[in-house]
Amino acid sequence: MTTLAETTSLPQAGAAEDSPWRRALRRLLQRRGAMLGAAVVLLLIILAVLAPWIAPYDPIQQSWSLVRKAPSWAHWLGTDEVGRDVLSRVIWGTRASLSAGVISVGIAICIGVPAGLLAGSAGGWIDGVLSRITDAMLACPFLILAIALAAFLGPSLGNAMIAIGITATPIFVRLTRGQVLATKVEDYVEAARAVGNPPIRIALRHVLPNILAPILVQATLAIAAAIIAEASLSFLGLGQQPPAPSWGSMLNSAQRFLAQAPWMAIWPGVAIFLAVLSFNLFGDGLRDALDPKQQR
């Protein structure tokens, strides 16, 4: 029984040629939007990792002779209000944004998925308590809760990630719980229970692998939301602290020099837009590719 469930759900080497994951991958590769999104995400990851070697200047090096210079050959995207190179800051800012996106969603998954598995498998009062907490958190608008948490934790990039991660958690709890309830009645889960598997083994070995797809889709879309949230918090001064570069805080200082130096406002915004757009595109494509209703 166990092996049957596994071979149909996990992308194992030597498994049936046409596993669901493989089919999904093939469909994903055919989606131009998703592939474009994936390409931009890959590019951003490369920029973030190689920032010290790619960025032409030191992102926090100030220069009073270069204050608010328009884009030129020396400074492709111009300089900011204290003479720092905008291009270098945008490249370094990729680190803050991507890590905030990935780490905060990681936090949300690490808390949300086990909690959802527990709520869905255990039922009863455990489910009741977890569901009410989830409802309560979902009742607070995302950014407002994140701002409140970040404010009470104190302003720093790390705390912003924690705040965004906690705020994003209830979505994963609810999603996982719903998926668990749906798979609970499937034959293979019934069978696993009938042969006497303990509930925790059923949850981890039989249910979890089969609900990974929607969690993966949600995670991709949540990264997009988390990047916007980090930029928003940094814009308000509750995220990355100066002088460290972040797209959100760059836009904050740009707003004060709109008339004199509009280039300061353009590029960090373009960067946020591209990052969020590509995660959204990839997530949408992933959902379409993994959605079993779309099969055949």
Binding site: A136, A139, F142, L251, A265, V276
Partner: protein, 313 residues
């Protein structure tokens, strides 16, 4: 219907209880002595002692919670340290500004999102559909504070058509009020238009394959009539209820938008309080938004049942 309503309202009680614990718990996250934080620059031990007494910080946390909830239930949300005013008064003062902004944003969102969704569903797979989908992706992916900055640059700095910031009340001067709020309302509405468009599109696609639409077509009705009278009517129900849930997006968006356009509403209140460490106001504002959201959720559910006879049983 009655049992549904009572059940639904009874369900709210534990949720509201959790919300209250969550918001009260925020205070426990403050590093160090809360009295010291609340006192700000003040370091006089007598003042600290007085703050501890006034906010019952000298008592155990559960007791503090009970007092806090008692206050909330009687409309006492605490007092702003900075403005020396009751939080409830501040909320009542700032709410209409944000409501005006929210209503305008919703109107803009409906005016863009629903027609775009209809067109994209009816002309599925054509350039119209692609265009509408690109618009939706743009709306969902653009950070609204960036859009705000771009609009200020275009309409205020470059063209000089609209004021870059500030707010004029509706009753003071109607047109000036619209001029100060149209850009922020568009920024807020843009994101929601995208979401509404996606909901409308999928609801319309579903409705267009329904039997009653086939019947309407078979009767020989004009396509326009089939789409607008038969399909749209049925498709709009979920769209409207889902739209009501975007209220949270509106409020979240209002925080940054009001900040950029310096509009003295709810969003600016929460940001200003955060920076002035005016924690009672932060708690109060989060509590009011959460309760409003829960209430709207309830109303959306009721509306859904009311317009859907199959669920009324």
């Amino acid at each position: 219907m009655f049992t549904f309503l009572t059940q639904r309202i009874l369900q709210l009680i534990p949720t509201l209880f959790c919300v209250s614990i969550l918001i009260f718990g925020l205070q426990q996250l403050l590093p160090g002595d809360p009295a010291l934080v609340m006192a700000g620059e003040e370091r006089d031990p007598a003042v600290l002692e007085q703050i501890r007494k006034q906010y019952r910080l000298d008592q155990p946390v559960p007791v503090q919670y009970v007092y806090w909830v008692k206050g909330v239930l009687t409309g006492d949300l605490g007092e702003s340290m900075r403005l020396k005013k009751p939080v409830s008064e501040l909320v009542v003062e700032k709410l209409p500004v944000t409501l005006q902004l929210a209503c305008m944003a919703l109107l803009i969102a409906l005016a863009i999102g629903i027609p775009a969704g209809i067109v994209s569903a009816v002309k599925r797979g054509t350039a119209w559909d692609y265009g509408a989908n690109i618009f939706a992706l743009w709306g969902i992916s653009t950070p609204n504070f960036w859009l705000g900055i771009l609009l200020i640059f275009l309409f205020a700095v470059t063209l000089n058509w609209l004021p870059a910031s500030g707010y004029v009340g509706l009753r003071e001067n109607f047109w000036a009020s619209i001029a100060t709020t149209i850009m922020p309302a568009f920024v807020l509405g843009n994101a929601i238009a995208a979401i509404l468009m996606r909901h409308t599109r999928s609801a319309m696609l579903q409705a267009m394959t329904a039997d009653y639409v086939r019947t309407a077509r078979a009767k020989g009705l004009a396509e326009r009539r089939v789409v607008l009278k038969h399909a749209l009517r049925n498709a709009l129900t979920p769209v409207i209820t889902l739209g009501a849930l975007e209220f949270g997006t509106l409020l979240s968006g209002a925080v940054l938008t009001e900040q950029i356009f310096t509009i003295p509403g709810f969003g600016k209140l929460i940001v200003d309080s955060v920076f002035n460490r005016d924690y009672a106001v932060v708690q109060g504002v989060v509590l009011v938004t959460a309760s409003t959201y829960i209430l709207l959720n309830l109303l959306a559910d009721i509306a859904y049942v009311l317009v859907n006879p199959r669920l009324r049983a």
